[in-house]
């Protein structure tokens, strides 16, 4: 390699001009780029200009240029939504036609309904019932098998459509437990006694004298709705008091509060707020959460013939 330090110096081996700088004895050749490289570069510039004209690109003070193709991400979304709705139209029509209790539990239509219901639930119901439908104090857990008003498809559907204690809806679920304490129907001692009794029948306390007194008070005041054994009645939406499931809580203080002031939980009537198909979907979804019961008048039997394999789990 030549060590001459002139401008415009030519590398003997390649015939290429040097750039004129050197690091540690290494010099840079001024090797020309291929011409197509240049044209490729021009092409990208032309493409960029074309793109900026066609699509929204250049930011202005309060918005960006719209682009001659009038494309926008929002417009794209609206198109996609419209397309999705058109695709769902057949399911929607089917669901509108078939009465809820006639829905075949094994059908693809039922699956579609459950999926649609899950989506609708996330929008309309999670505020009270929680995202997993597990509820909380005062808001029923929809996963369990305790239903105040019934747990088959049509009962659930009815509850969703007409709500609970909804003023303005004549068909709403309605039950009014008296406020025994506030209205002076029972004394505070009597309330303590009936609470003892309720805790005995729900296996939370051992029998006591207080509970014995409570039994009589229960028979006179509560059995009409909650049944002689305290197992509740769906006709009145009266909860079963003998099981471990409590809407407001089964401890003494909460029960005392319940008997004294009564509870008047409300749920909106979704008829009119949601379209009938969505309400059906919601019913299907809630029914699918695990506690759903068989409709009395369903066309197809639901029970699957699994019985012969029972006992398999005992293998180990």
């Amino acid at each position: 390699m030549s060590t001459d330090h002139e401008d415009k110096q030519i590398d003997a081996a390649t015939g290429t001009e040097f750039k004129g700088h050197e690091w540690d004895g290494i010099q840079e050749l001024n090797t020309p780029l291929p011409r197509w490289w240049l044209w490729t570069f021009y092409a990208t510039i032309i493409f960029a200009i074309g793109y900026c004209i066609a699509y929204p690109a250049i930011p202005l003070l309060d918005r960006a240029t719209a682009g001659v193709l009038n494309w926008s991400s929002r417009g794209q979304l609206e198109k996609d939504v419209a397309a999705a709705e058109a695709e769902r139209a057949s399911v929607t029509e089917e669901l509108a036609r078939i009465p809820i209790e006639r829905l075949d539990p094994e059908s693809p239509l039922m699956r579609a309904a459950i999926a649609g219901g899950a989506a609708a639930f996330r929008v309309n119901c999670v505020q009270c019932h929680g995202s997993g439908a597990a509820g909380s104090k005062g808001y029923p857990n929809l996963n369990d098998d305790e239903w105040l008003w019934g747990g088959d498809l049509s009962a659930i559907h009815y509850t969703i459509a007409h709500g609970i204690r909804q003023p303005g809806d004549e068909d709403t679920r309605m039950s009014l437990m008296p406020a025994f304490g506030r209205d002076g129907m029972l004394s505070s001692e009597e309330i303590e006694d009936v609470v003892s009794y309720v805790r005995v029948i729900s296996h939370q306390e051992q029998p006591s004298q207080s509970a014995q007194r409570g039994a009589t008070i229960f028979a006179n005041n509560c059995a009409a709705c909650h049944g002689a054994n305290g197992t509740g009645s769906r006709a009145f939406g009266a909860p079963n008091l003998t099981d471990p499931i409590w809407l407001y809580g089964g401890d003494r203080a909460t029960l005392n509060e319940t008997v004294t002031n009564s509870r008047r939980g409300m749920m909106p009537a979704w008829d009119g707020r949601l379209d009938p198909v969505t309400i059906k979907m919601l019913a299907a979804y809630v029914h699918s959460l695990g506690g759903g019961e068989q409709s009395a008048n369903v066309g197809d039997p639901v029970t699957s013939p699994d019985a012969p394999v029972a006992g398999e789990t005992e293998a180990e």
Binding site: W36, G130, D243, G292, V302
Partner: protein, 486 residues
């Protein structure tokens, strides 16, 4: 470096920052390596064009195309092997094999991939042959280039590019058959009702084939392709490369000079090696990045050496180590000593291990798969009867192309019963029987109810058993949660 000197040094005379491509008119040549190239070209093109048309009977529920990339259903069919998306590690394994294979190939036979099997090389070669067929060999092409634009030149140019385009369309057209049922797609393509994406793909590939094979040619290898950069890092002094044996060839001499008493080398400076080179380089300047080791210069020079009655192999495949030895007067090293050495054995061992490992896994894999996830929202549900219920999402993959009845049962959770979201509490049983469609994933929400015993979460297992007589099972362990003290 000297690639640039050769390719761009000429252009430098025009001056400026950007150099025009110097046209290359490689001369036709015959010889061992040329025939090898023909053979490999024939085989690779045949594989490319014929593969999608091979049939493979997989029964009524799966396509009967031997090699099919079914993007819509996310399946990949390769003869008797069917890959599901969750088995993507087979593809990863193939990539690892390709990587190690590259090490193996390069350390053994240098840039053989570039010279023989690379699609760019294969299609460029094809285009060069078409060009020769229409325009004639090197000299005719040079003459035609200089000739003024007349009817004959226009005719030849139009014919040539039309032929290029036909090859390009056929190339792009063959590609799409890998992604759909070939006969159906062929009919649809002709009738004009194939999917837009098919036409688009054909269009793009037609353009790239025509552009890269018809116009860009060696510039792809020299400027665009990252492969030679990686490969030059993987070559060592014991890898085979195409080498001009300058200690034997220099000083060069033309015919008459050879008669004189000056010491002369074997190279007769006929330029045959330069004339046949598809990348337009002069191999006598030493190893360079523009050389794809296609060995056509070896064929050309061997022919010359035979004519002037000198031993062949003035240009030859050799390792740098051999070059040094031969320069000092040692005898040439037999090729097998170069190919079979510890480094290549190591790479081959690795490569084969990955391959065998994958084959073994392919042999072992079950075509029935269970995966269970516990629902966490809510974790458990207290039931009115005092029991506790947990919910699980159960996925059953039936990877066979026939419907399969299966049983899902529970082990290790005493008293547990289950039902799925299509059934109800009343249908609870110790096991569920489910029919899973062919080549499908059945996803069910399954509820498990068990007596409340203690508070600690219990481990138990779901077992999946096929009921169709073909033994297959799978087990997945999960947790059963219970309420704490309330």
């Amino acid at each position: 470096m000297s690639t640039h000197s050769d390719r761009t040094g000429k252009a430098q005379k025009g001056g400026g920052l950007y150099a025009r491509r110097a046209d290359i008119f490689p001369r036709a040549v015959d010889g061992f390596y040329r025939r090898l190239k023909w053979a490999i070209m024939g085989v690779t093109l045949a594989i490319y064009y014929i593969t999608p048309w091979l049939r493979w009977d997989r029964g009524p529920y799966a396509p009967d195309q031997a090699v099919l990339v079914d993007l819509a259903n996310r399946r990949f069919y390769f003869f008797s092997i069917e890959i599901w998306p969750h088995e993507f590690y087979y593809v990863a394994g193939l990539l690892v094999m390709a990587g190690v294979g590259l090490f193996l190939l390069t350390s053994t036979v240098g840039r053989a991939w570039c010279g023989y099997a690379c699609p760019q090389t294969v299609w460029t070669d094809l285009y060069l042959h078409i060009e020769r067929f229409i325009d004639g060999d090197r000299n005719a092409q040079l003459r035609l280039k200089k000739a003024p634009l007349g009817p004959k030149k226009i005719f030849k140019r139009v014919t040539k590019h039309a032929a290029f385009l036909i090859v390009a369309v056929l190339t792009g057209g063959a590609w799409v058959f890998y992604f759909a049922d070939a006969p159906t797609l062929a009919r649809d393509l002709v009738a004009g009702d194939a999917a837009t994406v098919a036409y688009l793909t054909i269009g793009v590939l037609t353009f790239t084939t025509y552009w890269l094979g018809g116009w860009m040619r060696e510039q792809v290898c020299i400027y665009m392709c990252p492969w030679p950069r990686i490969q030059s890092a993987m070559l060592d002094e014991r890898s085979l490369i195409v080498t001009y044996k300058d200690w034997r060839g220099e000083p060069r001499s033309r015919g008459t000079k050879r008669q004189s008493d000056d010491p002369v080398g074997d190279c007769i400076d006929c330029n045959a090696c330069v004339a046949v080179c598809p990348t337009g380089i002069d191999i006598r300047e030493g190893p360079q990045i523009g050389c794809i080791t296609c060995a056509l210069c070896i064929d050309a020079c061997d022919e010359m050496m035979s004519k002037v009655d000198r031993p062949r192999g003035l240009i030859d495949y050799a390792t740098l180590e051999d070059c040094d030895a031969e320069r000092k007067g040692a005898a040439p090293v037999p090729v097998r000593r170069t190919i079979f050495r510890s480094r290549t054995f190591l790479y081959f061992g690795l490569w084969a291990a990955v391959g065998l490992g994958m084959l073994f896994m392919l042999g072992q894999r079950t075509r029935l798969d269970l995966s269970v996830g516990q629902e966490r929202n809510p974790l458990y549900v207290q039931l009115s009867g005092g029991e506790v219920r947990n919910a699980y999402t159960v996925k059953i993959r039936n990877m066979e192309t026939r419907p399969r009845p299966v049983r899902v049962s529970i082990e290790g959770l005493p008293g547990a019963v289950m039902w799925d979201s299509l059934g109800s509490d009343d249908s609870a049983a110790a096991a569920l029987e489910i029919e899973v469609g062919p080549d499908q994933v059945e996803r069910r929400r399954i509820y498990v109810r068990a007596p409340r015993q203690g508070e600690a979460p219990a481990e138990f297992r779901f077992r999946l058993t096929s009921l169709d007589g073909m033994p297959a099972e799978d087990i997945d362990s999960v947790r059963f949660d219970r309420p704490g003290e309330n």
